[in-house]
């Protein structure tokens, strides 16, 4: 039973890593090839982003309850509670999975989806080109923010393991179900 769970989890992680690689790579290529001379590359990369997003939605639709492949469900209360615990320098809060992650995932997914879908429409409705460019810029800032946030969260986790002096560690609150 445990082996099956581990296999399922490994499979889900592999699928998510593959999705992340295709999505980030295609978005980067689409953004960098936005000029007139590389229009074919831009269109190809943009449709690759849309295909990756569609594949991600399909994964989420067929994933069993509790699977990592389900779409992220952000919670404002959980994020606020976690931030409060981190500000009180609770070591356990720093080390555990942050409830900010679903927020980050939803923001970046929505941003890239808006940019890619507006691009597909702008392929036929030229008037939407400026909107597509603006959404592409917003998506780039979201992607950069996403990267910075991931490094900060990884740093926080590392801090929780190594550097925090025992004197400032407070007793963690009971975790609500």
């Amino acid at each position: 039973m445990a082996t099956t769970d581990r296999k399922r989890r490994t499979g889900a992680v592999t699928l998510l890593l593959g999705f992340h690689a295709v999505m980030s790579g295609a978005f980067l290529t689409a953004y960098l090839s936005g000029g007139e001379d590389s229009y074919g590359i831009h269109v190809f990369a943009g449709y690759t982003v849309i295909a990756a997003l569609a594949a991600r939605l399909l994964m989420a639709a067929f994933a069993p309850r509790g699977s990592m492949l389900r779409l992220p469900r952000p919670s404002l209360q959980a994020a606020a509670r976690w931030l409060g615990r981190v500000l009180r320098l609770e070591r356990r809060a720093m080390g555990e999975r942050s409830p900010l992650l679903p927020w980050i995932a939803v923001l970046i997914l929505a941003g890239t989806a808006a940019a890619a879908l507006s691009g597909a429409v702008a392929d036929y409705v030229v008037q939407l080109e400026h909107l597509h460019e603006a959404l592409g810029d917003i998506a780039l800032f979201l992607a950069i923010g996403h990267g910075v946030a991931m490094f900060l969260l990884a740093g926080l986790k590392r801090l929780s393991i190594k550097r925090l002096p025992a004197a400032v560690i407070t007793k963690p609150r009971e975790v609500l179900p």
């Binding site: 890593l17 690689a21 295709v22 980030s24 790579g25 001379d37 074919g40 990369a45």
Partner: protein, 46 residues
């Protein structure tokens, strides 16, 4: 893990760029790729 994910993304960016280059060559002709390398098309200029 983060470094691995960044490298995978960069590798995939390269793959998409190469495949996209193939699509552009097929759709607009191989000469359209030399415009990118040359740093801009000079259509209309002799």
């Amino acid at each position: 893990m983060l470094k691995k994910m960044i490298l995978q993304g960069l590798a995939m960016a390269l793959c998409v760029a190469v495949l996209g280059g193939g699509y552009q060559a097929w759709r607009y002709g191989p000469a359209s790729l030399t415009d990118i390398v040359a740093g801009g098309s000079d259509h209309g200029n002799d």
